[in-house]
Symmetry: C2
Subunit: 335 residues, 2 copies
């Protein structure tokens, strides 16, 4: 396999200087003959010369690249989010490089370092598992802009969030309106702040509807994945609830599989409600009632915030909160 063609190779093939080639390729070749200009452009295509971005980066100190860290590429939540990032970045002349770190702290740090070494202009960090320590240790000393989505703590920095408290509150109000009082909540063992806000909104929402929620009795621990919801089936059934609020759609879909395998029908025997509104919700049976997060808009907004920061490095911290809303489908029964 041949070596990559350099500007020197191209100049030598055309029988002109490197400066001449550089000026012609940069659209500043007017002072050369038409023949010379055409020869250089033709040879560029024939030899397949591509300008070296690394050399350009050293001069511009910008790679026109945004690093994006998400917990899990497998969750459809993040593919819609990434699509929003992607489209917005391209409109602004950037490209987005995305990594999924599976909630592994070491892997998150590894990717952040790798991206940093590749001179990304800034980061969008959508991983809720990234710790305050990682932000302090890595991101701050690098002096590279970042936008945090779904972060663990209310720290300095540009921050984007959705209204988790309102989302939990809406879910509770809806289930109470449908007559449910015995409601299991599927909640992870190591919840992030945003998930805790979701739960807090839910408990308050039930309270306002006159339903007391005993956390000890009604919270069942489960991972935020399809497998997590599925594995929680027996624990859920032991509580004899009329409804389950799963703190994301993936776990709701996993639980529905478990319930179905136990011969139970959703929503006739037990109601299930999710959170996120991933595209899958319309393809499970019954279709899933959920709280919609504006996934595409979250990606768009995070990208706009980061690019604004790149243009105005010294402006005040940005803080944006996006609204969520109830999407009613077929998985909750009116008692």
């Amino acid at each position: 396999m041949a070596k990559k063609i350099t500007i020197r190779d191209l100049a030598s093939a055309a029988g002109v200087s490197v400066t001449t080639v550089s000026q012609i390729l940069n659209g500043k070749g007017d002072r050369f003959s038409k023949a010379t200009q055409e020869k250089v452009l033709h040879l560029r295509d024939e030899l397949g010369y591509v300008p070296d971005f690394n050399a350009r980066n050293l001069i511009l100190r910008s790679s026109k690249t945004i690093g994006v860290l998400v917990p899990n590429l497998n969750n459809p939540f993040f593919s819609t989010f990434i699509h929003g990032v992607d489209i917005t970045a391209r409109k602004e002349g950037f490209i987005a490089i995305v990594f999924g770190a599976n909630h592994e702290v070491d892997l998150e740090r590894f990717y952040l370092r790798q991206l940093m070494e590749r001179s990304v202009d800034g980061f969008i960090i959508a991983s809720a598992s990234i710790t305050a320590k990682t932000v302090d240790d890595l991101l701050k000393p690098w002096h590279t802009p970042y936008v945090l989505f779904d972060q663990n703590e209310n720290r300095a920095g540009d921050r984007l969030e959705t209204d988790d408290y309102q989302g939990g509150h809406q879910a509770a109000a809806y289930l109470a309106r449908q007559g449910h009082q015995k409601i299991v909540v599927l909640h992870p063992k190591l919840p992030t702040i945003n998930i805790n806000n979701r739960l807090k909104g839910f408990v308050d929402g039930l309270g306002e509807a006159g339903v007391t929620f005993d956390a000890k009795q009604w919270i069942v621990p489960a991972e935020l994945t399809k497998a997590g919801g599925y594995q929680a089936t027996a624990d859920v059934l032991s509580k004899k609830p009329t409804a389950v609020f799963a703190e994301n759609d993936e776990m709701a879909i996993g639980l529905m599989r478990g319930l179905h395998e136990q011969g139970l029908s959703v929503p006739d025997d037990i109601s299930v409600m999710g959170y996120d509104n991933i595209d899958l919700d319309e393809y499970v049976m019954p279709q899933l009632t959920t709280i919609e997060q504006p996934l595409h808009k979250i990606g768009e907004t995070a990208t706009k915030m980061l690019i604004k920061r790149l243009k105005n490095p010294s402006m005040d911290w940005q803080k944006v909160k996006l609204a969520v809303k109830l999407v009613e489908r077929d998985s909750v029964k009116h008692l």
Copy 2:
């Protein structure tokens, strides 16, 4: 926001030369005092100095980066594939940068150029929609190694495929064994070669089981997405089949939603079989019978092939074909 720390800043803070810093950071600082070495290492961490990969790239002519192009990040098929790429690349000291181009030819070319400008060492191209023309126009003149998966044509280059013909054949043999003779095939309007091989294997498999397949009658066009399968529902039902072979799982899952909305039960009223074995197959009801492609292994193998090529640029083209297998679940009825 402060500027990125350079090696010059670090040298100046430590009161030593750039050469001294460089040697100490590269583990060649033995000839300097312990105090100087410690001062430099301490200041590196305190100031947050990160070596500039772009500068290093110019010297090494390698960015230790693999570009990966997939059609669609939304299809769980590709998230499992990417996981296989990712793990294998990291083991070998590379990182993988992944782009989804939504089958848009211009976007595919855009990303290939962008990655090329960022000096990736090679590409894994898992997009079946990439054309021979793009390969000829872009990849060849760049002299950058690439591995093609699921490609349109049998071209020069390192190539990885799964046995689509056998997969189609196994699906047909299985459906025939269950007593089905009236079988709709969901098939895209602009099929790639691998999808056509799948169909060819299917038709031959039915033939060997004594079932004639009239393509005009039994092929229903549909996109290879959940929405595509869903939208084909009415066309499928107009053929009055006992079974449907969907050429990927996503379209099978979309069709099952459509059938359910028509009040039909799978598999009691109509059987559905998919292709790929994405993780979702176990979470739909009924669980989907399918042909399993070894998704993780495809990612692993493609990455190993590319890295082998990087180490041996002049070796013969590699060609690898991976086997597929039937996974029997609950979506096909024995007649």
